[in-house]
Symmetry: C2
Subunit: 226 residues, 2 copies
């Protein structure tokens, strides 16, 4: 039973009746959460490359071997908050009922629904720390980009499984997903650089704004500077 658990979010776990899960699972989730929070804290104060995995594992009182059973790599632990959102997105996509509106709008709705699910008040803070770190850590940014890319591929498979498309090799569904991801990143960047401590509804507002800007991005015209 590792130390450092005290501060390290016993608070977040009971989010939705975790009393159901067996003790072993709960412990696993606790270590995972402790690693995420300690990592975000250490990386934020001393920089991503200023903290070794050994130090992180020491701080959480866990062996490096255990770390790698929970995360794929050093970047992974710091990107976990955003990844949680996309996992929820995939989940929502499975159960969402279409209403005749364009696919792009449906995907936006699904993303909003996923955002609604991120209930813990700790999530907003974690995403903020995570994104600010990613802004100054190329390898983290690359890792996040790749994760989004893989997620959109998975989502594409879900779309093809659940919905009907005229042509199986139509590029438009894939492009619609990429557009969603692009707008999401634009919104996230803007949200992250807001002064003070932005809230979840701020993020929703930035998202709406980015989605609204999408159609214009194909028609916008420009002139040379005078």
């Amino acid at each position: 039973m590792p130390l450092g658990y005290d501060r390290a979010m016993t608070a977040e776990l009971p989010s939705t009746g975790s009393g159901r899960l067996p003790l072993r699972e709960r412990k696993k989730l606790r270590t995972r959460q402790a690693l995420i929070d300690t990592a975000l804290e250490l990386f934020t104060t001393r920089g991503f490359s200023g903290v070794t995995l050994d130090e992180l594992c020491d701080a959480v009182d866990v062996s490096k071997r255990t770390f790698f059973r929970n995360f794929a790599g050093k970047e992974d632990v710091a990107m976990a908050p955003t990844q949680d959102l996309w996992v929820a997105f995939l989940d929502e996509l499975e159960i969402h009922e279409p209403d005749g509106r364009p696919l792009a709008e449906m995907l936006q709705q699904v993303l909003f629904a996923a955002l609604e699910r991120m209930t813990g008040e700790g999530w907003v803070r974690r995403v903020l720390l995570s994104r600010r770190l990613a802004g100054e850590t190329p390898s983290m940014d690359a890792h996040g980009l790749h994760f989004c890319h893989r997620t959109s591929r998975t989502a594409l498979a879900t779309l093809h499984r659940r919905f009907h498309f005229a042509a199986p090799d139509d590029l438009r569904p894939q492009l619609a997903l990429d557009l969603l991801v692009s707008a999401f990143h634009c919104a996230l960047d803007r949200w992250t650089s807001r002064p003070g401590t932005p809230t979840r509804s701020d993020l929703a507002a930035d998202l709406r704004e980015a989605f609204a800007a999408l159609p214009g991005s194909l028609t916008l015209t420009v002139d040379l500077r005078a």
Copy 2:
């Protein structure tokens, strides 16, 4: 003077009168090119992780230290062909004259112009090898994604420097660039999985098709499967 240069592309360098460059520069470019081609060959036959940098450097008869003066990392050397295209894209963007058509179309034109510049007949083969490797090597894919992302940021700065926008924080230029990149990747994926040995004009065709699909990606509607 490293060995392995014989097969290793004295052919590509004189592409545009490299007689102008000083000897030292030519040698540097030769080593660089030799590293790229040998890397693509070794990675293709034995897999990305099946080849150590030491082996690669041995094959090209170069010290590991020299490798890292030419490339930022192991993934970098294998993604060089695609990166060359984007460097040309940025260059074309600097000199392109707008003609009143939408920004998105202009960017597509600029990308086509960059593609025209990839003259060496070796380029097509290299991109093909590189992309097929990226398809089965997550870390390469992540690296490529990140490079495109950074490039689009640079391009955004160029746009703001050269052209006039109503609002300085307008999201649409950024989104237009992301759309371009998404369509490019769609086209590249399709081109890469063509049977046989696809040509440069095949790639141009796939690009046109992907660009044409962009507008529809926002309006496409879907139904549940019967």
